[in-house]
Amino acid sequence: MQYWFNLLLKSQGRRLYWGIFWAFFSAVSAVALLALSGWFITATALTGVAITAGIFVRFDMYLPGSGIRFFALSRTIGRYIERIYNHDTILRLISAFRLRLFKGLSDLPLSELRATSDSEWLGKLTADLDSLDSILIRYTIPPIVATLVILTLTLFLSFIWLELALYLGGSMLLCIAVIIGLTITQTKRVAAASSLLLSELRADIIEHLQGAFVLQSQGLMERHEAQILSRLNCFNDIEKSLNSRVANIQLLLDTILGLVLIVLVIVGLYSVGSSSISGPTAVMLAMLFIGVSEMLQSIPSQFSTWGKTDFSANRLKELVKQPHTKTDPQKVDIEAVSVRLSDHPKIPISQKKDLVFLLATQQLHLIYGRSGTGKSTLANLLVGTGLSKDQEKISITVNAGTSLLDIASSDWHSSLGYLDQSNAILAGTLGYNLALGLQTISEGAIWHALEMVELDEWANDLPQGLNTWLGETGGKVSGGQARRICLCRILLRDPKLVILDEPFNGIDTTMACRIWQNIALWLDPKMVVLLTHERPIFLSDEETISEVCLDVFTK
C-alpha cells in the first residue's frame, strides 16, 4: 500500500493538502457550532435568572449569536467543497493509477502476459483499482483531520483548564490509535480472504459463462454451478464474520465514548458544584465532546476495508514495473536467421537430435509436423516470447552474430508479421481491427488487402462497411472470417519476417489456394516461415522452399 501512497503524494500532493484543509475547516465548524450553542444557551439562562433576580449583568448576546450563524454556514459550505474536491482528487488519482498499471502490463514480456489468466486480470484492473480510493478518503484524510481537531480542541481547552485539556486530548488521541490498530489487526486477514474469494468467484463465473456453450445443451449447467455455490457460501460466512468483527469494534468504541462522556459530565458537574468552572463552560465541554465523538464514530467502518485495500494494492503492485523510457521501435534489417536448439521439453524431436536450420530473406520456409510436435512453440521462439537468457540450449542468431536476446523486443516485433493460432478479434469496428497499431493507412489500402483475403464483398455488404462493430467478443464473425481478418491485418504492414502458423485453419482448400495465390506477390520479397501439419496442397512443387520436419516418427 505504501507504494500507492507515495504515488498519491507525488501526483496529487497539493490537492491532498487542500483536501485536508477543507475537511478540517468543516469539522471544526461543526464542533464549534454545537459547543458555542451550548455555551450560549446556558449563559443566557444564567443571565436571565440573574436579571429576574434583579441583578444587573452585562452580557453581549450579539457576538455569540453571529458566531453561531457563521459556523452554521461555514460548516455547510466547507463540507460540500471538501467532498467534491476530495472525490475529484481520488478519481484523478485512480485514472493515473489505471494508466500506470496498463503501461506496466504492456511492458511485460509476452510469455508472462499469457501466464496470468484473463479473468484474474480483469479483477485486478477494475475492482482492485477502484478500491484504492480508500487510501485517500478512508485512511489518510479522516484520521489526520480527527487528530488535528483534537489538537485544536486541546489547545482551546488548555486556556480554560489545562489539566483536563491534556487528559482529554491525550486519551482521545490514544483512543483513535487503539481503535485504528484494533480494526486493522482484527479485520485485515478476514477482509483479505473475502477479497480473494470474490476474485476467485469472478474467475469461476467467467469460466462458467464461457463454458455455457457446451454445458447448456447437455444440461450440465446446474452441475457446473456447484463449485460456484460452495465458494459463494464460503464468501458469505467470511463476510458475516467480518461484519460482526467490525460491529464489535464499533460497540467497543461507542462504549468508550459513552464512558468518557459520563466521566466528563460527572467531572464537569462536580467542578461546577465546587465552582472551579462556570456552568456554561461545563455544558460547552460536554457539547465539544459530543461533536468530536461524532467524528470518531465512523473510524471502525472506515478502516474495516484495510485488508481488502491492502490485498488489492499488493496484487496491483506486482504488476507495475518501473516504466521504461521507450524510444520508438526501429525496424531490424533481417537478412538471415539461424536457429539451433536441442533438448527442448516441448519440441520432442529436439530431444532426439539437434534441430538446426537457417532462414534466408526472399525465401519460403516450410516447417511441418503433427499436432503436439511443437510448431507453435517454435514459432514463439522465433517471435522471441519463449526465450530467456538462461536457456543455453537454444540459440537464435539474427544476421551475422547478433543474438535475438540482444535485440529490443519492440524493435523485433515491429519487423515481424506473426499470424498465431488465436484469431484475436478485438471489440471494435472492422476498420479498427485492421488498422490497429498503424499510424496512417489509406482506405484504399485496406480494401485492397481485404480483396486479397476475399473479404471485400463481405465487408461491402456489412451494414456500416468498415465501421461495423464486430461485437464484444467478435462473435458475429465466423471462424474462417476471423482467420482472414487476422491475415489481412498483417498484409497491411510491411514486415521483414512473416510467420504464418496454420494460416488457413477453418478455410476450405480451394479458397486457401486462391488466397495463397493472391498474397504470393506480397510474400515474395520477404522471409516467410510457414507452419503446417503437413505439406499443404496450395504449395506447388516448383516453389523454392526449404523444409523442416518436426515429426519424430516419419511414416
Binding site: 450553542s37 446556558t42 443566557t44 439562562a45 444564567l46 436571565g48 455569540p64 449569536g65 450563524r69 460548516r75 455547510t76 463540507r79 460540500y80 467534491i84 472525490h87 485512480i94 496498463f102 502490463l105 504492456s106 499469457r114 501466464a115 479473468s119 486480470w121 480483469l122 470474490l198 463465473i205 459463462l209 464461457q210 456453450f213 447448456q216 445443451s217 447437455q218 444440461g219 450440465l220 449447467m221 459463494l232 460482526s244 460491529a247 464489535n248 460497540l251 462504549t255 458537574l269 458544584g273 455544558v283 520432442p348 503433427r370 499436432s371 503436439g372 510448431k375 488465436s422 484475436a424 497499431g437 464484444e472 465466423s478 471462424g479 485453419n505 477453418g506 478455410i507 501439419h533 503437413e534
Partner: protein, 576 residues
Amino acid sequence: MTKTVGLPHERTGRDFLNSYASKQRRALSMAVTAGSLSTVFMLTQWLSFSFIAEKLIIENESLATMSYLLIIFVCAVIGRTLLTRLQTSFSQTASLCIRRDIRSVILAHWRTSSPLNLKETSVGASAAQWVEEVEAMDGYFSRYWPQQLLAVMSPLLILCVVAYLNWLCALLLLISAPLIPLFMILVGMGAEQLNQKYSTIRQRLAGHFLDRVANLSTIKMLGAEKAVFEEVGEHSDNYRKVVMKTLKLAFLSSTVLEFFTSIAIASLAIYIGFSLYGAITWGPADSLSLFTGLVILILAPEFFQPLRNLSQYYHDRATALGAANNLVILLNRGADDKPSNNRKDIKESLKKQISTSKERGDEARIELHKLCVAFEESSVLTKPINIALNTGQTLVITGSSGTGKSTLLNIIAGYIPATHGQLHFYPKHDLPIAYLPQNAWIKNDTIINNLAALAPNASKKEMLDALDILGLASELALNHSGLDTVIGEHGQGLSGGQMQRIALARVLLNPAPIVLLDEPSAKLDLISKEFIIKALKSLKADVILIIATHDPSLICIADIHLNLDTLRETDNAVLV
C-alpha cells in the same frame, strides 16, 4: 440450499429491490425496531443529562442527591450502544441472504438463456454484474432500507418530546423537516438516471479492459500499445467525468440537509438563548428553562441525524437501483425470447445416459422440415432443408466459410430459434446434446477436471481409455504429468490440436443421444485426424452425429452429406 426462486418478472429495478426486501422483511423490521428503541434510550440519556445540569447549575443542588438520575443516564448510554450493535447485525444478515438469493437467480437465468445471448455482452461484463453489481446492493439493504423507516420513526419520537417541552421549537423543526425529503427527491431523480449510465459505463469499462487485456499479446505484436494505452486513458477519463457528475448531485442532496440542520440548530439556539435572556417574550418563551433549552438544543441535531444518514445512504440506493435496472434488463431479456432450452436437468440426463448404455433400442430421431438457416427472421442464409436422422446415422454439413454451417448447428442445439421451418426431436423434445464448438472450451484446471466438467460420471480408467483412443494418452504421459496436468485458460502446455482432442474425449466419455461437432479436425494433422475418424466411427452407431466441416476426409463417414453451397441450386437437395 440452492432453492431457485421462481423468476417474477419485475418491470423496474425498484420493484426488483422491493420484492427482495420483502422476502427478508422480518430481519429488516427487527433492525428497524432496534433502531427505534435506541432512539428512546437516546432521549432518556439527554433528558436525564439536562435535568441534572439544570438542578446543578440553576438550582445549585448537590450531585449526591441525584444519584438515581446518574444511574439512568449511564444505563441509557450503554443501552443505546448495545441496540445499535443489534440493529447492524440484523440488517447485515438480511442483506447477505438477499445477495445470495439474487446471485442464484442470475445463475438460474444463465442456465436457461441462449449462450449466444450471453456472448453478446462480454463475459467480463456479465461477471462484473454478478460480482460487483450485486455486491453494490449491500448498502441498499443493510443501510438504506432500514434507514428509510427510521428516518420517519426517530424524528417523530424526538418531535413528540420537543413538542411537549416547547411547541414553537417543535413547529420550527416540523417545518424544516419535510423540505428535506422534497429536495432529496428532486436531486435523487437526476442521480438515479446518472447512476444507471454510470453502471453501464462501468460495465463497458470492465468489458473493454477484459477484451484489451485478453488480446494484449496481439496488440503488442502489432505495436499498438501506445494507441490502446491512450484509448484506455480516454475510457477511464470518461468514467471519471460521469462519476463526478453523479457525486456532485449526491453531495448536493446531503448539503441541502446540512444546510437545514445548521440553520435549524442555529436559529433554535438563538431563539432559546434570547428567550432565556428575556429578550423574547412572545409565544411559549416563558416555559423555557435551562433544562428544556438544553434538551431541545441537543435533540435538534439528533432530529436531523436519521435524515442525514438517509441522504448519505441515498447514493447506496441510487447505485443499487442502477444495478437492479440493469439486472432486470438481463432477466427480462430471457423472458422475451425464451429459447428452447428449458432442456433437461442433470438427473434426467444421467438417467438418459444409463438408458442409452443399457437398452440400445431406445432410439432418437431428429427431423428438419423445410428448415432455413437464418440468424434472425429477416436474414435467411439457405434454401429450406428437409432431413430426418435416426440414431446411428451421421450427417456431414459442408460449405464454404460463411454459408451458415455453425448457425445450423446452433439452431439444432436450440441456441438460435428456428424461425423458418420446423425442427422435431423424438422421443422427446429436450434430448441432451453434446456440442463441440470450433474453439474448444478449456477450463483453467487439470485435465481430469476438464473432462469431468462434461462427463461427471466417468472414472479415471475410462478417461485414460478415451484419451488413448484419441492418441492423447501416450502424448500426455510422454511430456506431461498425465491427468493431473493443469491447463491454463489459453491452454498453456497443450497445442490447439490437443485441446480439440480433449474436448472430443469428453464427448466420447458422455455421449448424448445427439452429438454436434463443429470443425472437429480443423487444427489436426493427418495422424491425429485418423485417430479422430476412428473414434467417430465407433461413436456413430450409438448416436445421431452431425458434423460441420471443410475437411473432405470426414465426408467418408457420412450417411448423409449436406452441401450448403450446392443447396442453393437444387431445392431440397437431400431427402431421406
